[in-house]
């Protein structure tokens, strides 16, 4: 059997002495799209931040392996270079750093790690324009400071753009649908679906079932009280929408 892409084993973790993740297990293989659904405050963003190496969280026990390597020993940038990408629930604004400059540094950092030649400005801008057009992101937005003055929807589209440019092997989408109207939701989902190539894996984190009508997962997990309480196929999302989370939390 081939090594799974991501293996989270019996993870316990928290923030400021507060235990949030309590015995979390999940295995994701190459090409699989998993949905993780849970109520507000369940610890979904905490899990995605821990996967990306954000400081301020403490892992008390358990392990996370990515492509067979110990993920917890890597810095955030190493994880990104290894192919992890997090489309954030709340993308950060960085005044003074143009979106294009930021992305060029990101692309070339990753290419350098992969022993690929760095892209020159012309090549890069051309690629950025092309990918941007598909997501309705114009040249003007790309020139502006990163996320500054962007609407909620624009920020989410920009996260999707980053993902399509950085081409991660594993993408985590944390509430990619929050704050999107139906049209924007379609644009973002189309962008995400375009990246489903049978090799790339995804963890789609969401609160509502809505997004999963567009980005149809292979597996659905219900996350409550720090762990997965139920797993199933895509129909589980519908069941969840019908019954509400309370039902599942009781079940365990």
């Amino acid at each position: 059997m081939t090594t799974p892409l991501l293996e989270i084993e019996d993870l316990y973790a928290g923030v400021c002495d507060k235990e949030i993740i309590k015995g979390f297990n999940l295995t994701i293989n190459e090409g699989e799209v998993h949905a993780l659904m849970g109520p507000n405050g369940a610890g979904k963003s905490t899990l995605s931040n821990i996967l990306c190496g954000k400081e301020g969280y403490s892992v008390t026990s358990g392990s996370i392996r990515f492509k067979g390597k110990n993920l917890l020993a890597m810095s955030p940038e190493e994880r990104a270079r290894e192919g992890i990408f997090l489309a954030m629930q709340y993308p950060v604004e960085i005044p003074g750093v143009p979106t294009s400059t930021f992305l060029k540094h990101a692309v070339n950092s990753i290419r350098k790690y992969q022993n690929l030649p760095e892209l020159d400005t012309m090549e890069f801008i051309k690629m950025l324009r092309e990918e941007g057009r598909k997501l309705g992101i114009d040249a003007d937005m790309i020139k502006r400071s990163l996320n500054v003055g962007f609407s909620g929807g624009e920020k989410k589209r920009l996260e999707t753009l980053q993902m399509s440019i950085l081409k991660p092997s594993f993408a985590i989408l944390d509430e990619a649908d929050s704050g999107l109207d139906i049209d924007a939701l379609k644009v973002v989902s189309d962008g995400v679906n375009a990246l489903r190539d049978g090799k790339r894996s995804m963890l789609v984190i969401t609160h509502y079932q809505r997004l999963l009508n567009y980005v149809v997962p292979d597996f659905v997990h219900v996350y409550a009280d720090g762990k997965i309480v139920k797993s199933g196929g895509k129909d589980l999302a519908l069941e969840l929408e019908e019954k509400g989370y309370a039902e599942f939390v009781k079940e365990k």
């Binding site: 990104a80 950060v92 540094h105 990753i110």
Partner: protein
């Protein structure tokens, strides 16, 4: 401590007028000595290290080093404080004259020199005047607009001898004239050289004159750079300045602006970048002496290591200066636990109906922003640099001249390899 007043042979000693000026500078310095820890104006910038050194008055020009600038400009070059005709490139038809020549042959200079910079309140000005000889006299005639920047380049060849040199620049813009002056203070050789560059500028802007004054202080890491600029502004004149300090162990850039008639406007922008044990001081004193005068100041610092940034900013609004606007903002980015900034804003408002504000903020790099960048594969050092560049961008974009702005931006980025 008065070993600084050495008996050296200066040019022009046959001129009684010049000798008297030097004599009064020398006496004033002897009387005051260096500022002490008790001197209010120097409260945060300690001179202990500077005072412990023996300085030798620079008396020879070594081989000249040609300094290239990435923009087209006229050049007035100094090597170890001595004017260098061979590397200079002076404009035709505009008065740009080496100071000693102007002193001896252009009596007109006597109206301007040693008038704005006060020897009794500024010991370093007194010291500068005691050795009055080198510098430049720039006079732009009425209605003349010099498009090409005039660059005053002071290059020091760093060695184990602690040289002292004094430069005095007199810049006069007649009515309705305009010019861009760039001051570039740089060095080569021994980076640990402990020389002292003591610079005084006296600047006169007549009605409607417009001066853009950009300065880069990029001295050796152990050097001392003390500069004082006094600016006198007439009706509707405009002074726009920017100073980047990033070299020297002790660096001070002090500016006194007197807004003497209605409509005069001044803009003082400055940035400092520092590391090690350096102290870099930006001191401003803006005097609104007439109604409807305007001043804007933005100062930003990036401090790491054990370094200390100092900002002292005074805005004085005279009783008759109604309808005046003065604002001032200092911000600092502290990159290490031992980095420090000392800030002293002072507002003296004697008039009604004025708009005056000051503010100060210091902080660290934003963790969320750093994480966001790193989560996209950007290494931590590169991410920090991008954030620092962004931080300084706010101020370097205020430089109107695109090429000079670009040049200064690059210098700020070079600082952190």
């Amino acid at each position: 401590m008065n070993n600084l007043l050495q008996n050296v042979k200066l040019l022009g000693s046959e001129s009684p007028w010049l000798s008297r000026l030097r004599q009064s500078g020398s006496s004033a310095f002897k009387e005051q000595g260096f500022p002490s820890a008790k001197t209010e104006a120097w409260k945060y910038t300690k001179l202990r290290e500077l005072k412990s050194k023996d300085f030798i008055i620079s008396q020879t020009t070594s081989d000249t080093t040609a300094i290239e600038l990435p923009f087209d400009c006229y050049k007035i070059c100094f090597e170890n404080g001595w004017f260098c005709p061979s590397s200079s490139n002076l404009p035709q038809g505009v008065e740009v004259i080496p100071l000693i020549e102007a002193i001896l042959f252009h009596p007109e200079l006597h109206n301007y020199i040693c008038k704005l910079a006060n020897i009794n309140t500024h010991p370093f000005v007194a010291l500068n005047q005691a050795y009055l000889q080198e510098g430049v006299f720039i006079k732009i005639e009425k209605n003349v607009n010099i498009k090409k920047p005039l660059a005053i380049i002071s290059h020091t060849e760093g060695s184990d001898i602690n040289l002292l040199f004094n430069l005095r620049n007199i810049i006069v813009l007649d009515e309705n004239s305009a010019a861009t002056v760039v001051e570039y203070h740089t060095y080569s050789g021994d980076t640990k050289s402990g020389y002292l560059a003591n610079i005084v500028n006296e600047i006169y802007l007549a009605s409607n004159a417009n001066l853009q004054h950009y300065k880069v202080q990029d001295e050796a890491f152990k050097a001392n750079h003390i500069a004082f600029s006094a600016v006198s502004q007439n009706r509707c004149s405009k002074y726009q300045s920017f100073c980047l300090q990033r070299g020297a162990n002790i660096g001070r850039n002090e500016t006194l602006v007197q807004l003497k008639d209605e409509g005069a406007e001044t803009e003082i922008n400055a940035a400092y970048l520092m590391d090690g044990w350096a102290t870099l001081d930006t001191t401003t004193n803006v005097e609104h002496l007439a109604p409807h005068t305007y001043s804007h100041q933005l100062i930003k610092g990036v401090v790491s290591g054990n370094a200390k940034g100092v900002f002292q900013g005074k805005i004085h609004i005279a009783p008759n200066a109604i309808g005046t606007e003065g604002n001032q903002l200092h911000k600092a980015l502290l990159l290490s636990d031992n980095a420090e900034v000392d800030v002293k804003p002072e507002l003296e408002i004697y008039a009604d109906d004025v708009k005056c504000s000051h503010g100060a903020a210091s902080g660290e790099l934003d963790e969320e922003q750093l994480f966001y960048m790193r989560s996209r594969g950007i290494g931590i050092e590169e991410a920090k640099q991008l954030l620092i560049d962004a931080y300084l961008d706010e101020i370097t974009t205020k430089i109107d001249n695109e090429k000079i702005s670009q040049w200064i931006k690059l210098i700020t980025q070079e600082n952190r390899k």
